[in-house]
Symmetry: none
Subunit: 222 residues, 4 copies
Amino acid sequence: MKGYIINDRRVGHNKKGFKVAPKIVDKQVKKTEILHAAMQVFSQKGVVKTKMIDVAKAAGIGKGTIYEYFRSKEEIFAEAFNLMFFHIETQLADLISGTDNPTEKLHKLIEVSLKEFLEHSGDMASIMMDFWAEGIRNKDTDVINLINLEQIYSEFRLIIADILSDGINKGVFRNIDVQSMAAIIIAVIDGVLLQWTINKNIIDINKISEVMFDTLINGIRL
Amino acid sequence: MKGYIINDRRVGHNKKGFKVAPKIVDKQVKKTEILHAAMQVFSQKGVVKTKMIDVAKAAGIGKGTIYEYFRSKEEIFAEAFNLMFFHIETQLADLISGTDNPTEKLHKLIEVSLKEFLEHSGDMASIMMDFWAEGIRNKDTDVINLINLEQIYSEFRLIIADILSDGINKGVFRNIDVQSMAAIIIAVIDGVLLQWTINKNIIDINKISEVMFDTLINGIRL
Amino acid sequence: MKGYIINDRRVGHNKKGFKVAPKIVDKQVKKTEILHAAMQVFSQKGVVKTKMIDVAKAAGIGKGTIYEYFRSKEEIFAEAFNLMFFHIETQLADLISGTDNPTEKLHKLIEVSLKEFLEHSGDMASIMMDFWAEGIRNKDTDVINLINLEQIYSEFRLIIADILSDGINKGVFRNIDVQSMAAIIIAVIDGVLLQWTINKNIIDINKISEVMFDTLINGIRL
Amino acid sequence: MKGYIINDRRVGHNKKGFKVAPKIVDKQVKKTEILHAAMQVFSQKGVVKTKMIDVAKAAGIGKGTIYEYFRSKEEIFAEAFNLMFFHIETQLADLISGTDNPTEKLHKLIEVSLKEFLEHSGDMASIMMDFWAEGIRNKDTDVINLINLEQIYSEFRLIIADILSDGINKGVFRNIDVQSMAAIIIAVIDGVLLQWTINKNIIDINKISEVMFDTLINGIRL
DNA sequence: AATGAATGAGGCTTCATTCAT
DNA sequence: GATGAATGAAGCCTCATTCAT
């Protein structure tokens, strides 16, 4: 984890040599406020259609003020992107750490990623889809330095691969290719979120979640 | 001759019956040419970053000429989108119709969608991801009338649900919820394509395809 | 009169020395056809909003064909403009020549210009207003060479001034400034046509025509 | 300082109560500045030929700045149009209110509308003609909502009809149709302005003004 | 530090005119 | 002669970013 969020709150020094930390903390707080406002707007209008003035209004500040905290629109996007995935990763790590049972971990993983996630933070799913779309689009441009979809997915795959390896070692799962299986599990989750984004009414997340877990476990258990 | 298409059904007659000499251009063919040029550019720069002038240059025509064939940038996008999914659907239908065995059908479905598809039309995957991203982004705007992601996904789900129902009836698959399972199968394919788009080197499509099919069949067979 | 319409139908010669008049007549005829088609469209859409393709369609010919007969859109406009005023001038001259009585002449002038004119060629009024508007707008541009609003108005004033002078000589009218009075009479007619163009329902041409003539005669009679 | 207007009521407060330093620009004043610049250009090039960049240059600002004050080119036109007629109406009302004598009122009306008006604001006449031409052309389009030539003329007719009715009641004018006469009086003024616009040298406004008033009074007095 | 007025590069689209057939 | 496909100059407008206050 690159530590995008919990990062360099450097302690500054004024001309007279005294330490001045508070100001910098304030800056960080306000930056996060703007970020949250931006995410709010992103989820409503999509990244491309979101204008700087929209973000400013949502944050209750002036348009120019944004540039005190971010270099560009792209940077806002990138930081929001990273903030979101940091949240998700943290949430997942927490839930998974609640048990030692690999099957249980997978169950939680799917449940949290789909059911809980959608029910409690539906908006987030929309933003994620949008970030994701934007991430794809920008895979060959400058933003590549700011948002690293590749790294994020690698990390997710690693987490899941670990669970699977653990399950295999414990004799719960059969000896599958954990790298591929990890990719597949992430794929299903992403794919379902996508379909849900397209039409929230047709996709019955509860049923799908259940069927997915059943099939998965049936498919990989020893 | 900037690649005009010459064909034989072009000699028109004016009101007085005299032969006239209209330019020998099949509008439909040229339209398709432009569409292919556009898709080429889309796959390289992404839809949003593709400018009309880019499409024009790629098609070897003038900027204004595009508007002889398309009303707007959005229309080009929508038609390219539909063209692509028409191709995919046709391809899938063809392959699936080659056998009566539901298991075999699923195998082909996955293989074509992933392995074959990527190997033989890698660019298409990139465009599809991009279209898809764009489709999500525009789900609440005017484009909704031109590209209907919702309908396309419904059709895909239907095709797969039919295979599954057939398998259940034939006693090959256990009695799963076919709607959910269909959504899940599509989800995996989409999700894997996504990861592949993000990093083509890490995702081993052959392995994944195999693991996916194994797990799926293991998971749903009676 | 510059003779815009009745002009140089030159007799051409082909390579072998034989006279070939017919072709040239045809050209003139077709040119006039296009002109009439153009005027039709002008009256419906206004000059600026009329596109070459509109004129072509109205004339039942191809877009490019227009350029066989006219150098530019502006030339079409100018020739249509002149054609129209030539018609009007001819009509007026005809009517006025029907009597020797100056009062009668003024009566006819007003009646033809307003009542008859509007009743029988309402469309023409619209075009005229539009031509006129366009003439004003282009008073400082190239078109000045093609349409000469200035000359046309001078000619109109001359016709009316002659009637007035005649009336003064005959002891029917008092000794007014005929130049000014001529300008005024034209002004009323133009101004009423304008108001009629703006709202055809409110302006009662019959009443106005009557009141105008009464007031005028009352105002200038000896 | 490109001609910013500085005034004293500009110190704003943000949510937290701190003073902020907004640019010292009175939006309304600047809007009017742009409007005047636009009218300047309109009078020189005509409305249609006036481009946004022309207006920007004339106002000494950037192209984009215009859009901070006006939604579109059409809106600039409409507001300039209304501003102009507001000026005229105000001027007329002022002058007419200076006396109770209907004859005197008509005299002033004509004199102001022609002589004074032209002498002191010659440019305005050109713009008015142009606005007017544009108003005619756009009588069937969207602009109808912004500039209402119809309503403006109705108001003018009403003002004049009132004067005439007053004169008739006072036994100064004979019992003419006031509606028609009002239309006619406006018509003469418009028509004379038109001819003056076409050729400023030939039209002797002083003489015409005098002749017009004489003839009118002669024509309508009891 | 905060602001929003100002800006101009850049994009889409229109349409008069050209020209190969 | 007739045609309409092709074109690109030109125009309106958007919006991220700058910067004076």
